[in-house]
Amino acid sequence: MTTAPFAIAIELDGDGAHPAAWRAVDHAPADLLSGKRIAATVRAAERAGFTAVTFDDAAVPPGTSAGSGVAGRIDAVQRAAFAAPLTSAIGLVPVAPAVYTEPFHVSTQLATADLASDGRVGWIADTDPDPRSAAVYGRAPVDAAEAVATATDAIEVVRQLWDSWEDDAVIRDTTTWRYVDRDRLHRVTAESPRFSVAGPSIIPPPPQGQLPVFAPLAGGLPAGTDVALVTSSAQATRRVATEAGAAQVWLELEVALDRAGVPAARRVADLDAHEPWAPGTVGRYVGDAAGLVDLLTDLAGQVDGVRLHPAVLDEDLDEIGRAVLPALREAGLFRSPRPGDRLRDVLGLPAAVNRHTAARTATLEEVTA
């Protein structure tokens, strides 16, 4: 636990967590895969006052091969980037796979989105070893342990690339005609048998310096993760996450609320008639808003945040924004981000210090001591 205010994020993937959610929304199925739809949902989430939105992704299609759920998905980092100029306060946190991807690309893509949003982007490092994903990139599949080890290396390389420009690297010196100070640009020093990355990055440092890095605890937490996403708030789980180095622990929670006089259980049952919402490892709350307020109040004493997976995005996001977040704000348990806030600050993570600047400053202090 940190002293940061409780974080409440919402997952925006598809039309909601229920596999039949697409039948309950007002838009045509194909309109899900459009900029217009993304604009509408991120704006709704920002108006409601969520800490952050998350965008799920994978190298394989969503849904199941048996035909359940939505089968299409726009790249998550691009969805976050698209959302950046349309919002001003809310955090934008896409999944980017960390196992079979090139860390150099992941690093520059996320840094670009962070620049476009002026410091509101985070990264969910996906550690899924799915062999189908390996085939998408033309790489050899790895097992779960190797996937976490690869993600650990990837996070370190990505972080070194974000640090590879010191803040004062751009000097625009018109007496020497030098645009940058080469001594403030640094190569990547991490040695990994899994990658080759020389550095420096091609893009100036992201406004946050280091983006908050999230990763699921399931399967093992890669080192370098700031926020562990967990499926149980039990003390034992929290201990595993913090011992693995996570500064914060967020609980995943599926949510369906009463709406317009229709009980949540009834809403879910109606959708289940089309396709059942099979319970997974993530806990689920089905009930009224007051009950969710109580549950989140309780959780605020155990974890640093929650990520809500709404059964039907349009309906449940709206209900949470209308009847849950205001009550938590009034109770002083939750604060919505304000325009201009950076995600690290909103989450209460310490300011990122550039490793090269820190090392030089330390050396200077030694010399002058």
Binding site: S34, I74, R79, A81, F82, F104, T112, V136, R178, P200
Partner: protein, 455 residues
Amino acid sequence: MSTTTPRNQIQFGVFFQGVNSTTIWTEPESGSQTAFESFRRIAQTAERGLFSAFFLGEGLRLREHLGQVHDLDVVGRPDAQTQLAALAAITEKIGLVATQNTTYNDPVDLAHRLQSLDLLSGGRAAWNVVTTDNAWTGANFRRGGYLDHADRYTHAERVVETVRAVWDSWDDHVVASGRDAASWADRSGVHVVERDLGHYAVRAEGRLPRSAQGHPVLFQAGDSDEGRDFATRAADVIFSAHPEFKDAKAFAADIRRRTLAAGRPEDDVKVFPGQQFVLADTDAEAEEKARWVAEHQITPATAIAYLENIWGTSLQTYDPDGPLPDIDPVVEVTGSTRGSGFQFQKSQELATQWRALSEAEGLSIRQLVTRVGVRRGGIVGGYSTVADRLAEYADAGAVHGFNVSPWLVPSGLDDIVDRLVPLLQDRGVYPTEYRGGTLREHLGLRGPLTRRAAA
């Protein structure tokens, strides 16, 4: 709606370069070269001027000069597709062109991102296919320098074919038309893509349907015989290096011939040379401004560095305002670390030519570099003079448009949009509105190559 004008038209694109000495960063009016606001301003100005496309390069390694980061030009550029995704949210019509190489991007991932951008933007995405293959760039990637330079186009064609297969992996009407359908997707219309690309093989299920324009538009910029053949087989638009009138006409004729030979209609490939504009109220003022621009693009330090790249060694002891170096280059050809515009130049031959030129005309190092440098002044003149010249290009069918490189960021398009475009419109040689909503429509292109039989 069709217009009644009998004249051919030209269009503009804008190439936000970032790197290269084209961009003047030393002046007070030059703003941030990397802040999102600069990109927003240029993209929105271009859209106000009915530009067909906003174009970004790709950086995969910071450029180096004599073994160190090249520090005299703007350094740092965003990831092209991510930046274009952000710009898609705040523009409505302009095409969004991402340069992406076929060697260090993974083909299925590349296809998916381009298709994502295409859907996000409502059918405005394009891919400028480049074939960067050097191992120096590859040092940032797992596969490193695996590709021989000679094989770059063979590999590029395989990648393009794979990318198109991903784009075509969903039949039309896979996505349910209504909420009562049996399932969201009719998976019998989703096809697995399996390709052996020689150095590796991929297998993927597509994750997206086609956009309103079918496929992202394909740009290509290679200028060799092989590059031109590749472009006329596979691309929709060529970003050419032939802006001068006679040269542009000859290039356009060559491309029409190759396009026909590739079994396509002769007007199937559009040509957009890169071009710089220096404009003012009068021709004399424009000439004066062009001198100022050249001086600020080719600073004393840049002039020396330009020769150092050809000579392959430090020339810091030479005076930029003095004669050319008396020593010979120490390399046969230039390397790849300064970007594609600088690589594989024949050093000895250039040194001999340039010495002769500078002796004949009494040119200093800086004057010579200003003369022979990558951007040779571009189109310079008063607004109405330039409008007349561009009308000649349009009438002669020498180009379909120009990809404008602004030399100031972010204000570099203002005079083109506010002063030149209206004069071109008065002459009937520039669009007065966007044709439709997609980039393919703006450019007057036919459907995607792989979809013609089906159409």
